[in-house]
Amino acid sequence: MGNKQTIFTAQQLDAYQDCTYFTRKEILRLFYRYRDLAPQLVPLDYTNQPDVKLPYELIGSMPELKDNPFRQRIAEVFSEDGEGNMTLDDFLDMFSVLSEMAPRDLKAYYAFKIYDFNNDDFICKSDLQKTLNKLTRNELTEDEVRMVCEKVIDEADLDNDGRLSLEDFQHMIVRAPEFLSTFHIRI
């Protein structure tokens, strides 16, 4: 059934299967989703590894992502150039991490990077403020924003340096069993 496809070589499909949490069928299905975003840019033949990048605007318009308040950060974290323009590899990687089979630590790592807006490997107060504004449509007052961010740092910061490191974040995730089902996008 799937042996007649001519999009990828067998080695490429094996590599995709080994490096993501998807089966062959799902990889092909995701390829077609990727191609549907821009059929004129994405060739049907990936055997010679064309260098095709879809701009962020197309990725962000996907129905799974278009209402997500963090879609831009997600695209930036998983794209190679950090701007949100994704190759097919980045696309597969993104949905693989966000699928239900990815383990908790991997998801926690990428969730941390998504919330780390200034890419300094720490979630500091400004990152928390940006997260809060994205989640509450900028409707909280300045005071409330400040108080909530202070509370978050108080509760989650273990080593008292005023910002959340990856370990602090992972410690919190270990104690939140719903994280596996909430940090999950179905495609």
């Binding site: 997500n68 950090g82 790592y109 409707e139 909280l140 273990l158 080593d159 974040f169 909430t182």
Partner: protein, 632 residues
């Protein structure tokens, strides 16, 4: 395997970060991966927090190292087989696509209802296969035609009442014989009936305990309190919601809840007293209502018995009233939130759940009491009578569940959108629906002893219910506005399923088997004093067979002796105490470690400051020496 900390973060031009393993890191990685089997290696590569290019490169490195090994081919085939198996399993899994759709639109807490339904369906399928295979099929093979009296024929009413034609078939306890069926092998029906039911209940108990313990460990012990800001901000957002309106509503709710936390209100004494009085009043009201319903059911049963007419339709009165109570009163309880204020939404849900559980337990308790004390003493083939009552209850419950969907969801939707727009579109009430499922399953568990084929009805019921609820959900309901702690609620529901519902059903069946005399004229246990004596008779038969003395010994000295149970209890208590002490020790260790993290970071700061200070002193000293000796 946590590789995140060992990667090099390289900042290149333009503020872009690349995370690459440095050369030695990559060598370490390869060294670790090379020792694993193929399956473990693939899993480890997938879990690497690296970009796709790096993962492919690591994989290429691994495969080129291993290329000379021929074992890889064998393991690759195994890997392929494993993948084929997993993709085949995905296609065979029941309702996979529907679950994805529901989860995407309504979130994981609504999805948990449907997964619970699927899980209960598996129990019933297993029960049906076991009962049908071990009890019914041998009887059908031996005696395919049921011995029905000549004046009884099949009318349509049997589907509702379960009496009449069905009474003489293998549907109920009375249709089974107590003989040893001779055929290819000697098949003892008594033993088969007893052991099939007993083993099934024990396996159910183990499955429930196991999943309850696992769920409890994962979701309760380590869990962060839901009231913490950090959890709400960073862990609670559901990425899988694709509905714009749902996203907007969740954002508003998060905003409300966070702004409430930011300005914490304290209540005055009079407000506290008022809240306490309102709580007390509503609890008294709900408890009184539950007890009143139980008493009225009892009197209704007695009335039905007194007016024992030939009208078969009257037997439907009690089941219909029971199901009506189960439909109306929980809806009434749901309205309590209008005047009862709870400090958190979770407490509100728990209060609702407790009230509903109490109502259902009182109804089931009254019915079981009536069956065991009145029906068992009055009728000749009383197990079949109880089986018929249970059948009617199951059917009535199914009909009223369908009605409940209509009232609870469809009518609410119509009222909320057209008549009184203030109410809005209803949400799917997860707690109420899950409790209805638990109640339906309890009826099936009680009924297995009296009507072995009842699980078949339950399977059909759950199947239809799944599609019905799905359609009702997608047409009438909106996604839940608040992000609930779905995992903890799941644990609570499984715990409720086990205790009091499963334990209650098991107790009832055990009491029936132990204390009540089986009926004389029908069923597989006729002629015995109680059902358990089947085992005694079997052991007596076994004593004459050589080679099976060990079974007899186990029965005499282990199962029948009290010392054994006493010893087991003492040993279990001691082990429990030891584990409890271990947990206490681990808790204090966790606190110690947490304090140490703080100390280490403080220590690090102090060390840095000290180093700077020493550096400064050295610099000043050098400068002084230089100025003293050179300038001289």
């Amino acid at each position: 395997m946590d590789y995140g900390l060992r990667l090099l973060h390289v900042k290149i031009k333009g503020g872009i970060y690349l995370i690459i393993p440095s050369v030695t890191e990559e060598q370490n990685l390869v060294k670790e991966l090379i020792d694993l089997s193929t399956r473990d290696r693939i899993r480890a590569i997938r879990e690497l927090p690296m970009s796709f290019e790096e993962k492919k490169r690591i994989r290429w490195v691994m495969s080129s190292i291993k290329q000379c090994c021929r074992i890889i081919l064998h393991q690759h085939i195994l890997g392929c087989v494993c993948l084929c198996h997993s993709s085949a399993r995905q296609t065979l899994e029941l309702w996979q696509g529907v679950m994805k759709e529901i989860g995407g639109k309504f979130g994981s807490s609504v999805l948990s209802y449907f997964m619970f339904l699927k899980w209960l369906l598996m129990f019933n399928i297993f029960s049906f296969l076991v009962n049908f295979g071990f009890i019914t099929i041998p009887l059908l093979v031996y005696d395919p035609l049921p011995n029905i009296p000549p004046n009884v024929s099949f009318r349509g009413l049997e589907i509702l009442t379960g009496a009449g034609y069905f009474n003489y078939t293998v549907m109920y306890y009375g249709g089974y014989s107590n003989e040893t069926l001779s055929g290819l092998v000697d098949y003892d029906m008594q033993l088969a009936y007893f052991f099939t039911i007993a083993v099934y209940m024990v396996l159910c108990g183990f499955a429930l305990i196991f999943s309850m313990a696992r769920s409890f460990q994962r979701n309760y012990i380590l869990a962060e309190p839901a009231s913490s800001c950090a959890w709400q901000l960073l862990c609670s957002w559901d990425f899988s919601i694709t509905n714009e309106k749902a996203v907007r509503q969740r954002k508003s709710n998060l905003r409300e809840s966070l702004s409430e936390k930011a300005q914490m209100k304290l209540l005055t004494l009079s407000e506290k007293l008022k809240h306490f009085a309102v709580h007390l009043g509503s609890w008294l009201l709900s408890t009184g209502l539950a007890l009143g319903c139980g008493a009225s059911i009892y009197y209704l049963c007695q009335y039905e018995q007194q007016v024992h007419s030939s009208m078969e339709g009257l037997t439907l009165l009690v089941p219909f009233v029971v199901s009506l109570i189960n439909l109306v009163i929980p809806l009434f309880y749901s309205l309590f939130y209008k005047f009862e204020q709870y400090s958190s939404q979770r407490r509100q849900i728990y209060a609702l759940v407790i009230r509903n559980v109490f109502l259902k337990m009182s109804i089931l308790g009254v019915l079981c009491f009536y069956w065991m004390n009145v029906v068992a003493k009055k009728y000749s083939c009383w197990e079949s009578m109880v089986g018929q009552s249970l059948y009617r209850l199951v059917i009535a419950d199914f009909l009223f569940l369908m009605l409940g969907s209509f009232f609870g969801e469809f009518l609410s939707n119509v009222i909320g959108t057209r008549l009184i727009p203030r109410f809005g579109v209803p949400e799917f009430d997860i707690a109420r629906n899950v409790l209805e499922l638990i109640y339906a399953q309890t009826l099936a568990w009680i009924g297995i002893y009296f009507s072995p084929l009842l699980p078949a009805i339950q399977i059909v019921k759950f199947f239809i219910l799944f599609y019905l609820k799905k359609v009702s959900l997608t047409q009438n309901c909106q996604p839940p506005r608040r992000t609930g702690r779905a995992a903890q609620m799941q644990t609570t529901f499984i715990a409720l399923l086990f205790f009091p519902f499963f334990v209650g059903a098991l107790s009832m069946v055990a009491y029936t088997a132990w204390r009540l005399a089986p009926s004389e004229q029908c069923g597989p246990f006729r002629g015995l004093n109680d059902t358990f004596s089947v085992v005694g008779v079997w052991i007596d038969d076994l004593e004459v067979i050589p080679g099976s003395q060990w079974v007899v010994w186990i029965y005499q000295n282990v199962i029948r002796s009290e010392i054994f149970y006493f010893l087991i209890t003492v040993v279990t208590l001691v082990i429990t105490y030891i584990f409890w002490q271990v947990i206490q020790g681990r808790k204090s260790l966790m606190n110690l470690l947490r304090q140490q993290i703080v100390n280490v970071s403080v220590f690090e700061e102090k060390r840095l400051l000290l180093m700077l200070f020493i550096e400064r002193i050295l610099f000043c000293t050098q400068h002084w020496v230089y100025s003293k000796y050179i300038l001289l």
